[in-house]
C-alpha cells in the first residue's frame, strides 16, 4: 500500500482542508471561474457572456456556456451582465451564469433536472443513491461552502446581493466574500504587496497590507483588454485602405491572397443574419488572436512616442497576421501603438466615439495614486512585491514595460515585479488565491454560516468580510 514518506502529500484527513470541499467562484467580465478549493486550476471556466433570443420578458430564451454562444443563429444577442463600472448590473442573469459555471462542470445536478427529465416518475425509490442525490440537488450548493471574489470597489449593495444569492438561491451552508486583489497576492504567496490586475474590462491597482486590502488605495480604470481591442479596431479603421475585420462564422472558405490584397473568400449567407452583438463578440475572437500573435508593447526605454523609438520599431521585422477571410498583412510599428494607450494616454488612437482616455487612467498613474494612500514607510515594502495578474498582462513585453515605468517613477526603491510564468497562474490568480485560502484549516473560523446569516441578515457581510 501507499506508505507515507517525506515526499508524499499529507493525508487528506491530517489537515482539515479538503473535507469541506468548498467551492470557489471568481466571476469576471470575460470569464467566470469556478472550482473546488484545494485544486490548482479552476475546473470550470465559462464565458461571462450569454446569448439571448427575444427581448426581455418571459418569452426570451437564454443560452449559457461556450457551446451555445458561438452558434450563428438569427436573433441571438450576446450580452454581458457586468456594468461599465465593473460591478454586476444584471443580477438575474449573472446568477444564472454563475450557477451554470458551478453546475455544468462541478456539481452536475441542476436544480430542475430530476423534475424536468421526467424519468423519475416511473423509477420510484429503488436506488438509495439516487434518492439522496435528488434531495441534494434541490439547491445547487446545498453541501458546499462558497467563497466568492469581488472587485475591490464593489458597492455595499452589491456585496449584500452576493450573500443573499449564496444563501437564499443556492442554499450554501457557509459563505465568504474576498477581494480579488488580496487573493491574487495570496496566490503569489504574498501577504503584502501591490496588485496590478489588468483584466478585460478594468485595470485595477490594489495595495494589500498583511492580507488586508487598503480600500482607499484601490484604483481602477477602464484601460484594459477591451480597451486594447477597441484600439485595434480603430487602428484597422484608420489604416488606409481600411482593414476589414471578418469573423470566422461569415466565411465559408478562404483563398490565399497576396499581402494587403482584398480577400477572396466565399462567404456564408444566413436567412436571418446574426445580430450585431453576436458579430462583435465573434470579432473579439479574432482580435484576441491578433493580440496573442501580433500586438507588442514597446518595452522601453522611453515611451513609444519618444524620440526615435517609433523609427526603431519600424525597423524591426513586422509580424504577419491573416484574417479569417484570408486577408493578410505584415504589421510593423502599428502593432506597438495599439497597446501603448495602457501606459501613455496621449498615444492612444482616438476618433469621435472613443475620446482620448484620461491621463490618470494609465497604469503608472494608477500605481502612483494607489501608493499615495499608503503610509510612506510602507511603500518600499509594497514596491518589493508588485504582483502582476490578469489576462491582459500576457500582452507581449508587458512586464518589461511595466518594470521600466515603475523604475522611472520610483528610482530609489527596490522594485520587484512578481509575475508568475505559467499562464494559468497569471490568468486565474484570484481564483487560485481563493482556492488556497478556502482549503486552509484555519480559514474555517472565517466562514459566515447560514445560521449567522439568518440571525443578522445580509448586512453581516460588511462586518465580517473586509
Amino acid at each position: 500500500m501507499n506508505m507515507p514518506n517525506s515526499s508524499t502529500a499529507p493525508n487528506a484527513n491530517e489537515y482539515a482542508g479538503d473535507e469541506v470541499s468548498a467551492i470557489v467562484l471568481d466571476p469576471g467580465y470575460s470569464t467566470t471561474r469556478a472550482g473546488f478549493a484545494g485544486e490548482d486550476v479552476p475546473k470550470s471556466v465559462c464565458p461571462s457572456f450569454y446569448g439571448q433570443i427575444g427581448d426581455d420578458g418571459d418569452s426570451s430564451r437564454y443560452f449559457f456556456g461556450e457551446n451555445s454562444i458561438h452558434n450563428p443563429v438569427g436573433d441571438l444577442q450576446i450580452k454581458n451582465p457586468w456594468g461599465s463600472d465593473g460591478i454586476v448590473e444584471d443580477w438575474d442573469t449573472a446568477t444564472k451564469i454563475w450557477e451554470y459555471a458551478i453546475t455544468s462542470r462541478l456539481t452536475g445536478s441542476k436544480p430542475t433536472d430530476p423534475t424536468k427529465n421526467g424519468l423519475n416518475d416511473a423509477n420510484g425509490d429503488a436506488m438509495e443513491v439516487d434518492v439522496e442525490a435528488l434531495e441534494q440537488s434541490e439547491k445547487p450548493l446545498e453541501d458546499s461552502p462558497l467563497l466568492m471574489t469581488e472587485p475591490g470597489w464593489n458597492s455595499t449593495k452589491a456585496r449584500e446581493k452576493y450573500i443573499e444569492l449564496a444563501f437564499e438561491e443556492w442554499g450554501t451552508p457557509a459563505f465568504y466574500l474576498h477581494k480579488t486583489g488580496a487573493l491574487a497576492a495570496f496566490a503569489s504567496g504574498k501577504a503584502s504587496g501591490i496588485v496590478i490586475d489588468v483584466g478585460a474590462s478594468h485595470t485595477s491597482v490594489t495595495p494589500v497590507l498583511d492580507g488586508m486590502v487598503l480600500r482607499k488605495g484601490v484604483q481602477k480604470s477602464p484601460l484594459a483588454g477591451n480597451f486594447v481591442s477597441n484600439q485595434i479596431r480603430l487602428s484597422f479603421k484608420q489604416s488606409s485602405p481600411e482593414i476589414p475585420l471578418t469573423p470566422h462564422y461569415l466565411v465559408a472558405s478562404k483563398t490565399q491572397v497576396d499581402a494587403g490584397a482584398p480577400a477572396q473568400a466565399s462567404y456564408k449567407t444566413f436567412a436571418t443574419p446574426p445580430t450585431e452583438s453576436f458579430r462583435r463578440h465573434e470579432e473579439e475572437r479574432v482580435l484576441t488572436e491578433f493580440k496573442e500573435s501580433v500586438v507588442e508593447l514597446w518595452p522601453g526605454p522611453g515611451r513609444f512616442s519618444n524620440g526615435t523609438n517609433e523609427e526603431i520599431a519600424k525597423n524591426q521585422p513586422g509580424r504577419p497576421f491573416e484574417m479569417p477571410d484570408g486577408w493578410n498583412q505584415v504589421f510593423s510599428s502599428e502593432r506597438f501603438r495599439v497597446a501603448e494607450g495602457l501606459f501613455d494616454a496621449s498615444a492612444a488612437l482616438t476618433d469621435a466615439d472613443s475620446p482620448k482616455p484620461k491621463d490618470e487612467w494609465c497604469i503608472p498613474r494608477l500605481v502612483q495614486q494607489a501608493l499615495t494612500h499608503v503610509d510612506a514607510d510602507q511603500r518600499p515594502l509594497l514596491l518589493q512585491n508588485i504582483v502582476v495578474t490578469g489576462g491582459s498582462t500576457l500582452l507581449y513585453k508587458f512586464n518589461e514595460r511595466l518594470n521600466y515605468e515603475i523604475n522611472t517613477i520610483y528610482p530609489s526603491t527596490r522594485n520587484k515585479l512578481i509575475a508568475p510564468g505559467p499562464v494559468v497562474e497569471r490568468k486565474y490568480a484570484a481564483w487560485i488565491g481563493g482556492s488556497i485560502l478556502a482549503s486552509l484549516g484555519s480559514f474555517h473560523q472565517l466562514w459566515i454560516s447560514k445560521k449567522e446569516y439568518e440571525e443578522h441578515g445580509s448586512n453581516i457581510v460588511e462586518k465580517r468580510c473586509r
Binding site: M1, N2, A12, F36, V41, P42, K43, V45, E66, N67, H70, N71, L106, T107, G108, D113, N117, L119, N120, N123, D125, A126, V129, D130, A133, S240, H248, Y249, V251, S253, K254, Q256, D258, A259, G260, R285, T288, E289, E292, S293, V294, P299, K314, N315, Q316, P317, G318, R319, P320, F321, E322, N328, Q329, V330, S332, E334, L394, P422, V423, V424
Partner: protein, 651 residues
C-alpha cells in the same frame, strides 16, 4: 492484497449508444468483446429494469405459439411467468427497442437508476471473479460530483477491490500513443473536443457535449433531405450506416446536383428490366449493376408505374400496410415483383457485359445507390399481430429481400450475414441476427448531404475554439498537427476527410506573401508601414520560431547570413522569436496516424480507440504500476476517504 492479473481486469466504457466492456486483457489487445446497447427497459415492477424488451402475451391464441422455441424465431426466448400459469406469457424480444430508456444522453447520465441497472447488467454478463479491478472510462461531461457518485456505486454494489476512472479523451491519446493531441470524439448526439498536452487534458478550454453534432445529427440531416420521399427516421439511420452514405468534402459537387428532383432524374428501372437494356446516362448505367428491385420509389412495373402517389407512399411504409390488413394483397404484389426481378436478372445477364463492367463507378460519382434496410417496425408489427409460427415465417419469407443468392423460401430461420456497413454497432453476441426483415431501398444524391446542416462547420469551430483556449500558445501548432477523430459518429464514410478539408479551408494560415521569400533576399531595407507587400525584409521565418518553420533551417540560413539580421534589433530579436505567444496557428493541420501494432484493431478501425487506450492504461495501472502512482483507488482507500477520495487517484 495480491497483485492483479491481466485476466482479472474489467474495462467498461459507457456511451450514449453503445456500452463496451471486457473482462480480462488478451495478449494482443482486442476490440471490446462485450457490446451492449446502452438502454434498459422498465420492468413491470417500478424501479426495476430489464435488459431486453419484455412482451406480455395474455392472449388466448398463445397456445399455437407454444412450439416455436428453437424454430423460426430463435431469438425469442420465452419464459412463462409465475410457474405454470399459462395465461400470462412473457417473451424476451431481443431486437425490439420499443419503450427503451437510454440513460446516457449526450454523454451525460440523465437517468441514474437506469444507468446503474445497465452497468449491473454489463457486470453480470461479464460474470467476473471476486478479485477484479474495474477501470471505467469517464465521459468528459461527467462532473466531479458524478465521479464520486460512480465511485460509491462501484465500491458498494460490486465490492470491487480497486476502481479507477479514466477520461475518455485521455484514453484515446493513450491508444494512439501520442502525448500531445487534439481529440475529437464524435458521439451519438454530441461532440467532445479535448486538447491534451503531455498527457494532461486541458480542462478549462475543452468543449464538452457540443450538441447537435454527432451521428444523430447526421441522421437528422438525411431525414430532412429525404422526408419528402417518405423516408422514415429508421431508414435514414440505416442509410447512414450503409456504405453508400458518404460525406463529401466541401467543394466536391454532389453527383447529379444539377437537379435532384423527385421524378426527373429517375430513370425507370422497370423499363430497363423489361427490355434488358440499360437506361441512358451514367446514373442508370451504374444503377443496373444492382437494379433496385425492392419497393423503392419508382420500381413498380406495368400499370403500377410512376405517378401513383398512393402506392408509392404505401410501399415504403410496409408496416402500416401489414397492420392495415392489406397484407395478402401486398404479398401477392411482392411475389410478382420477385418473379419480375428474376426475369430481369436473367435478361440482365444476357445484356452485353461491356455495358455493365466499366460503369462500376465509385460511390461518390454515382447518383443513386441502394442499401439494405432492416425493417424493425415491420417486424414489430408482425409480432404484435400474433401470427402463428407458420404465418410469421411465411410473412417473413415473403417480405425479406435480404440475401438474394439463396432460394427465398425456406431460409428464414438461418442466421444470415448482415450487410456490414459503416457503423453497425449492434454486434452484441447476445443479439442474434435472425429475424430481421430486409428490404432494398434506393436513394439519390441526398445520401451525400447528411452533413449539410452545418455539422462539420460547428465541429471545426469547436476545434478552433478548443485549441485557441490552450494557454500555452507554443503548444497550439503541435495540437493542430495531431488531430484524432474518433467516436462512432465519425464512421460515416468521408466524415473525417471532409472535416479535415473544412478545417483547412477555413482556418489554415498560409504563409504570408509579404514574408515568404524574405529569408532568400538579403536586405537591409526598412519597411514602410502599412503596405509592406512589396518591400520584403529579413525575418526569422514567417510566423516566429514556434510555428512550423524548421528551426534548424532557420538557424542555418541566419548563421550564414549575419547581415540578414536587422540592425539594432539583435537582442530583441532573439527573445522575440523564442517568445511563445507569437505566431498564428494553424499553419498545418494533420491527423495522427493510428498505431500499427494492434492487429485486431486494424480491421475494425480506431473509432473506439478510447477502449483500446483504457486497456493499455488498465494494464499499466493495475498490473505494472500496482497502484504505486495512485492510478486507482483501492477498497481500503475508499473505506478511509469515502467517495470524494476518488479525485486523488487517477492519471
Amino acid at each position: 492484497m495480491p497483485a492483479f492479473k491481466d485476466d482479472q481486469i474489467i474495462v467498461i466504457e459507457p456511451g450514449s449508444e453503445t456500452t463496451l466492456a471486457q473482462l480480462g486483457l488478451a495478449e494482443s489487445l482486442t476490440p471490446a468483446r462485450l457490446r451492449v446497447r446502452s438502454r434498459m427497459f422498465p420492468a413491470e415492477k417500478e424501479g426495476e429494469w430489464e435488459p431486453y424488451k419484455i412482451r406480455r402475451r395474455a392472449d388466448l391464441s398463445g397456445k399455437p405459439t407454444e412450439g416455436q422455441n428453437g424454430t423460426a424465431e430463435g431469438d425469442e426466448a420465452k419464459k412463462t411467468a409465475g410457474g405454470d400459469d399459462d395465461e400470462v406469457v412473457y417473451e424476451e424480444d431481443r431486437v425490439s427497442e420499443e419503450g427503451a430508456v437510454w440513460p446516457i444522453q449526450q454523454g451525460r447520465i440523465t437517468n441514474w437508476p437506469c444507468f446503474f441497472a445497465l452497468i449491473t447488467h454489463v457486470y453480470n454478463t461479464l460474470n467476473p471473479p471476486f478479485h477484479t479491478p474495474i477501470l471505467l472510462i469517464a465521459q468528459p461531461s461527467w462532473t466531479p460530483r458524478e465521479h464520486e457518485k460512480l465511485t460509491q456505486f462501484f465500491f458498494e454494489k460490486f465490492k470491487t477491490p480497486a476502481f479507477g476512472l479514466m477520461d475518455a479523451a485521455l484514453a484515446t491519446s493513450w491508444a494512439y500513443g501520442v502525448h500531445t493531441s487534439t481529440i475529437v470524439d464524435v458521439g451519438k448526439d454530441k461532440v467532445d473536443v479535448t486538447a491534451i498536452s503531455e498527457f494532461i487534458p486541458h480542462i478549462t478550454g475543452r468543449v464538452t457535449a457540443l450538441d447537435g453534432c454527432g451521428g444523430e445529427a447526421l441522421t437528422e440531416g438525411l431525414l430532412a433531405k429525404l422526408k419528402s420521399k417518405k423516408f422514415t427516421r429508421a431508414m435514414c439511420e440505416q442509410l447512414k450506416k450503409s456504405p453508400i452514405c458518404e460525406i463529401l468534402p466541401p467543394g466536391v459537387p454532389v453527383p447529379g446536383s444539377g437537379e435532384v428532383g423527385d421524378q426527373e432524374t429517375i430513370t425507370n428501372p422497370a423499363s430497363a428490366a423489361s427490355t434488358g437494356a440499360p437506361g441512358s446516362g451514367a446514373a442508370a448505367a451504374s444503377g443496373l449493376g444492382n437494379v433496385p428491385r425492392g419497393p423503392g420509389i419508382d420500381t413498380e412495373v406495368g400499370d403500377e408505374a410512376n405517378g401513383d402517389g398512393e402506392e408509392n407512399e404505401g410501399v415504403l411504409d410496409v408496416a402500416s400496410i401489414v397492420a392495415g390488413g392489406k397484407m395478402s394483397e401486398y404479398l401477392a404484389k411482392k411475389e410478382k415483383e420477385k418473379q419480375d426481378k428474376a426475369l430481369a436478372k436473367k435478361k440482365g445477364a444476357e445484356a452485353p457485359k461491356t455495358d455493365n463492367r466499366p460503369v462500376r463507378l465509385p460511390n461518390a460519382k454515382r447518383e443513386k445507390a441502394t442499401f439494405m434496410y432492416e425493417d424493425h417496425a415491420l417486424l414489430d408489427t408482425l409480432k404484435n399481430m400474433n401470427l402463428g409460427t407458420k404465418g410469421m415465417a411465411e410473412a417473413h419469407a415473403a417480405l425479406d429481400e435480404g440475401p438474394q443468392k439463396k432460394p427465398q423460401e425456406d431460409q428464414d430461420g438461418e442466421p444470415r450475414s448482415v450487410v456490414e456497413a459503416n457503423g453497425n454497432t449492434e454486434l452484441g453476441p447476445a443479439i442474434s441476427k435472425t429475424g430481421h426483415i430486409r428490404r432494398e431501398i434506393e436513394v439519390g444524391a441526398e445520401r451525400f448531404q447528411a452533413a449539410s446542416n452545418g455539422v462539420l462547420e460547428r465541429i471545426a469551430d469547436a476545434i478552433h475554439r478548443t485549441i485557441s483556449s490552450v494557454d500555452e500558445v507554443n503548444k497550439r501548432s503541435e495540437l493542430w498537427e495531431s488531430l484524432v477523430i474518433c467516436g462512432n459518429g465519425s464512421r460515416v464514410r468521408g466524415f473525417k476527410e471532409a472535416l479535415l478539408a473544412t478545417l483547412q479551408s477555413k482556418y489554415l494560415i498560409s504563409p504570408s506573401s509579404a514574408t515568404m521569400f524574405t529569408s532568400e533576399i538579403p536586405s537591409n531595407i526598412s519597411t514602410p508601414t502599412g503596405t509592406g507587400a512589396n518591400t520584403p525584409q529579413p525575418q526569422l521565418g514567417p510566423h516566429g520560431g514556434s510555428s512550423g518553420v524548421n528551426p534548424l533551417l532557420l538557424a542555418a540560413t541566419t548563421a550564414q547570413n549575419p547581415h540578414m539580421l536587422p540592425p539594432g534589433a539583435n537582442p530583441l530579436m532573439s527573445s522575440h522569436n523564442t517568445h511563445s505567444s507569437h505566431g498564428q496557428t494553424p499553419t498545418n493541420i494533420k491527423f495522427v496516424k493510428p498505431p500499427e501494432y494492434f492487429p485486431e484493431w486494424k480491421d475494425v478501425g480506431f473509432d473506439e480507440a478510447a477502449f483500446l487506450g483504457a486497456q493499455v492504461a488498465a494494464k499499466v495501472l493495475f498490473v505494472v504500476d500496482q497502484g504505486a502512482s495512485k492510478g486507482y483507488m483501492t477498497r481500503p482507500d475508499y473505506n478511509d476517504q469515502g467517495p470524494t477520495g476518488i479525485h486523488d487517484y487517477g492519471l
